[in-house]
């Protein structure tokens, strides 16, 4: 993979995503970008800013307003030699494409015994914390993660955003790429030339010995902040950032949990039948006897995403994470 601008730079996640698209389009003429408002406007979050100007209308273009059509056309283009990267404008606006995603994107390779691969990326600005109105703040990862045949990733910082998007575009399998909206403007020193993390690898973001916080996407900064606060209170929390939901990095996660014997899963999505449920289930299955207490979940409630004035109640916050850590039966045994 060639990367145009190596060296360290302070960049937002929105910028690194834009850079990843640009670098991927430069490296491979098969990469095409399309969706609603991704052309002249550069996307409502400006992730595709400048791509039409740089690569022309054939490589980055606006489409009619129809998500099923966008994903369906991308399927055809991927069948015929291209690597489409499509943008769903907001999480809930990917739902019209659900049939295409579940019945075709996820299954094409399998249906054709590997003859037809679909190297395509569906970018979804997702989750809340930005004061958005209804249908603009859904954490929809469970729908995709439950669907065999899709890769599902969610970066939590600008560097991973760059690396994971490059990896997603390079992948010969379809990737649902979840971009935590509230982290678009988070800034960080990024080394763009650094090796790209492979899809499927979690990372320990912070070492700790008392309990393990398991998080991904928008919940990672919350977990890190909670660990910071806990440290001040004398409790050492480890933080694991999944990065990739499917495939799941059992090895890294279970090793981390075994080290501490206690764990809390932190995620923004509603908890019922969710990715969090899966993490609790699979880690418990694998680490049962290493656990001093049941794994706790701090997730969104099982309610429609609330209006801006109430969204802070829905979002897993530092206090709620620390309460859950307190609940890990420190005295019971």
């Amino acid at each position: 993979m060639t990367v145009t601008a190596p060296g360290h730079q302070k960049l937002t996640m929105a910028q690194t995503l834009n850079r990843a698209l640009r670098d991927a389009m430069t490296a491979d003429p098969a990469v095409v970008v399309f969706g609603e408002d991704v052309g002249a406007l550069g996307g409502v979050f400006r992730i595709t800013d400048g791509l039409t100007a740089e690569f022309g209308e054939d490589r980055c273009f606006d489409t009619p307003l129809a998500e099923s059509g966008i994903v369906g056309v991308a399927v055809g283009m991927a069948m015929n030699g291209l690597r489409p990267v499509v943008e769903m404008q907001f999480d809930a606006f990917a739902y019209p494409a659900f049939e295409q995603i579940v019945s075709h994107v996820a299954k094409m390779r399998n249906r054709t015994r590997g003859r037809v691969a679909l190297p395509m990326v569906i970018r979804v600005p997702y989750a809340g914390g930005i004061g958005g109105v209804e249908h603009h703040c859904d954490s929809s990862e469970a729908y995709y993660a439950h669907t065999p045949g899709l890769h599902v990733v969610a970066p939590a910082n600008p560097a991973d955003a760059y690396g994971l998007l490059r990896a997603a575009i390079a992948s010969d399998d379809p990737v649902v790429f979840l971009e935590p909206k509230k982290l678009y403007w988070s800034k960080e020193e990024v080394e763009l030339g650094a090796p790209v993390p492979g899809i499927g690898t979690a990372v320990v973001r912070r070492e700790g010995t008392d309990a393990t916080l398991i998080a991904y996407g928008p919940a990672v900064p919350v977990a890190l902040e909670a660990a910071e606060v806990a440290a001040a209170e004398g409790r050492s929390l480890q933080v694991v950032d999944l990065r990739s939901i499917v495939p799941f990095d059992d090895e890294t996660v279970c090793a981390a949990v075994r080290r501490t014997g206690r764990a809390v899963v932190v995620a923004e999505a509603s908890g019922f039948a969710s990715v969090s449920s899966e993490i609790v289930a699979r880690v418990t299955e694998r680490c049962f006897h290493a656990l001093a207490a049941p794994i706790r979940r701090v997730t969104g409630f099982d309610i429609p995403y609330p209006p801006p004035k109430l969204e802070h109640f829905q979002l897993p916050g530092v206090d709620r994470v620390l309460d859950a850590v307190d609940d890990l039966q420190w005295e019971d045994r």
Partner: protein
């Protein structure tokens, strides 16, 4: 089977009854609305414009999170509401606050969504106005369902279903029109073609001669109307409503208008269109046009205009006051209305929040 197909096609040019200079335009197909109707529409237009601009100002003042203004599209908004009878339903999009207000919804309640207090601030049954819908075109099948249910009960209800030019590209537009046609549901589909879907111009949205040509594919009559001409809108929409009420089935009407401002205040329209394009539409403004017409016919004078302006100001003040009042929504609401009765799971979750709040209170 195809003998009567051509009557489903729209007129070659949008129906206009009043030109840009306020002069009447002869039409063979539609009679001009009577003077009272025009005066009533104008009064509503004045308030509509004031409300649009007030809402926009309130965004700048931080009292509204975002506002998709219908500045320039007020004639569509007002006519869509005024042609309906009591008991008829309106299905608005996020851009149709003014239409909702013209059906009787309190503007403060109508803007609850955009203020962030609650998703829908009004009781949809009070004025038969459905919640503003954000996922594009998804309200259209609902409109068909409401209309069909009424028809099954023998009620005379007509449903006015709004969407934008961009919304016509969604599958739900297609399915709704087809269901309406097959069920002969009394729905008037009004597409406000304001030339843009956020940044995407109509030419990238469709290659059709005009959106009204979509009707024939469902066996639904299509019609085109000047969306900045309140008189034409009242005539065309009024005829469609009457036809639907009489059992004639659905109709598709494309109103040619223009989004004078950015998509919302959060949008930067300079990235995708030139100011000169916008400027060209100023002379087609729905207010000045109807004003000129009414003045020519001595249906309006400065004194009456001052009254109307004062009334508009009163409504704007009401909106301002309402939005300046801070509501602290009760977090219990989060759990109260997910189901008729909270599930055991939700009761547990509500208790957790209540406990947090109690502990917070105890800390203070």
């Amino acid at each position: 089977m195809t003998g009567d197909a051509h009557h489903l096609l729209p007129s070659a040019e949008p129906v206009t009854l009043i030109d840009c200079h306020g002069r009447p335009v002869a039409s063979t197909a539609y009679a001009a609305p009577d003077a009272a109707a025009l005066v009533r529409a104008f009064a509503a237009l004045v308030t509509a414009r004031r409300l649009n601009d007030q809402a926009y100002a309130l965004v700048r003042q931080g009292r509204l999170a975002v506002y998709p203004s219908s500045h320039g599209q007020e004639a569509c908004q007002v006519a869509a509401a005024q042609v309906l009878a009591e008991g008829d339903w309106l299905f608005p999009t996020y851009r149709d606050t003014i239409a909702a207000v013209n059906r009787g919804v309190d503007p403060v309640e109508a803007l609850s969504l955009l203020k962030g207090d609650w998703h829908c601030g009004y009781d949809p049954y009070e004025h038969h106005v459905a919640p503003h819908t954000t996922p594009l075109a998804t309200q259209l099948p609902h409109a068909v369902g409401v209309a069909h249910a009424a028809r099954l009960r023998g009620e005379p209800t007509v449903v006015m279903a709004l969407c934008g030019d961009g919304g016509t590209s969604e599958g739900d537009f297609h399915e709704a029109l087809n269901f309406a046609a097959v069920l002969r549901a009394p729905v008037v589909f009004l597409v406000q073609n304001n030339e843009y879907a956020i940044s995407v111009p109509l030419a990238r949205q469709t290659a059709a001669p005009s959106l009204a040509y979509k009707g024939i594919g469902y066996g639904v009559p299509g019609e085109r109307v000047d969306g900045n001409d309140a008189a034409a809108l009242l005539a065309v929409l009024g005829a469609a409503v009457e036809r639907a009420r009489a059992g004639g089935g659905p109709q598709l009407i494309e109103a040619h208008t223009y989004r004078m401002q950015a998509h919302t205040n959060a949008d930067d329209a300079s990235r995708y269109r030139r100011d000169s394009e916008v400027a060209a539409w100023v002379e087609r403004d729905p207010l000045t046009r109807l004003e000129a017409h009414l003045r020519k016919r001595d249906l309006l004078d400065d004194a009456r205009l001052a009254e109307l302006t004062a009334e508009a100001e009163r409504v704007a003040t009401h909106l301002r006051d309402g939005l300046n009042r801070d509501v602290t929504p009760d977090p219990a609401m989060l759990f109260d209305h997910v189901y008729a009765r909270p599930t055991p799971q939700l009761a547990e979750q509500a208790a957790l929040v209540a406990d947090e709040l109690e502990r917070e209170g105890a800390l203070r």
